[in-house]
């Protein structure tokens, strides 16, 4: 099954993607783009899980199911986050994080 690609290549790719997500999380100001950076981070973790499962424990399915459940959690997280963002937009007519500084009227 060994595909001629060492495990560490997958891990390095995931690490680079993770830190690009961190950079976006730190520099972006729009709430939706911050959410997109979080999706990048989650996705890189998924790559890690799948690569570990395939390379180190190919007789089990633990990483596989972990990834499946992470995808489900990410989907519900995106749904709730977007509901909150739309609600914020309705109150403040902006979704810039620097202008949204009141938690409760």
């Amino acid at each position: 099954m060994n595909t001629g690609i060492p495990l560490s290549y997958f891990l390095i790719l995931a690490a680079i993607m993770f830190f690009i997500g961190i950079y976006g999380f730190l520099t972006r100001k729009n709430l939706i783009t911050i959410l997109m950076s979080v999706e990048l981070i989650l996705n890189s973790v998924n790559i890690n899980f799948v690569a570990f499962n395939r390379y180190l424990y190919p007789h089990k399915l633990e990483g596989f199911f972990f990834t499946l459940f992470i995808i489900a959690v990410a989907a519900s997280e995106a749904a709730v986050a977007i509901a909150i963002i739309i609600n914020i937009y309705r109150r403040f007519t902006t979704i810039n994080v620097e202008d949204v500084d009141v938690m409760k009227y």
Binding site: T3, L13, I32, V50, Y55, A74
Partner: protein, 174 residues
């Protein structure tokens, strides 16, 4: 270079380039489309690792569901032609420094560590097996997280509706 290595190189190039574009693009709709490219090539990596079901889930849920949700909310909250202000130079510099330092530490650790693979025979992943262990209570069964995730999805659905619905006029009788 074998075809496998070539495909891995291609996918990783696409992932890295479009990830950078996702977090730096100044037009928000373009950033969403770049994110779509990243997610699709991630599912390509899953196909390379022989997890076809996971790749299909990634394509339908991430690329099909989440990106469409994000694009919907972009259309509801922003003007298409609006461009973000460029990031302040100091903030961008320090964030990039933090990210690069973290990446270097992580990559050095990965390259140093000796991963020892198991010697047991690889398992062929077919749909029958996935379904069985998703609903089995015995060894290698995942029914508890399955049930928890179903409750979580229900709660998220209810929460999304409750949060996003318009506050109606106050009912005077209640």
């Amino acid at each position: 270079m074998t075809s496998n290595q070539f495909m891995f190189l291609l996918f990783s190039m696409i992932i890295i380039v479009f990830s950078v574009l996702t977090v730096t693009s100044r037009k928000i709709l373009r950033a969403a489309v770049y994110l779509l490219f990243v997610l699709v090539s991630t599912s390509g990596l899953y196909f390379m690792l022989n997890y076809q079901f996971l790749a299909a889930v990634q394509l339908t849920l991430y690329a099909g569901g989440i990106v469409v949700l994000i694009i919907f909310s972009i259309l509801l909250t922003s003007h298409i032609n609006q461009k973000f202000d460029p990031v302040e130079r100091k903030k961008s510099l320090f964030s990039a420094l933090a990210a690069i330092a973290g990446a270097i530490v992580t990559i050095i650790t990965i390259l140093d560590f000796k991963f020892s693979a198991t010697t047991e025979a690889a398992m062929e992943v077919n749909m029958r097996q996935v379904g069985n262990s998703l609903l089995s209570v015995g060894k290698d069964g995942y029914i508890l997280p399955f049930e928890v995730i179903s409750i979580l999805l229900l709660a998220a659905m209810v929460a999304a509706i409750v949060i996003a619905k318009k506050a109606g006029p106050k009912n005077p009788q209640s």
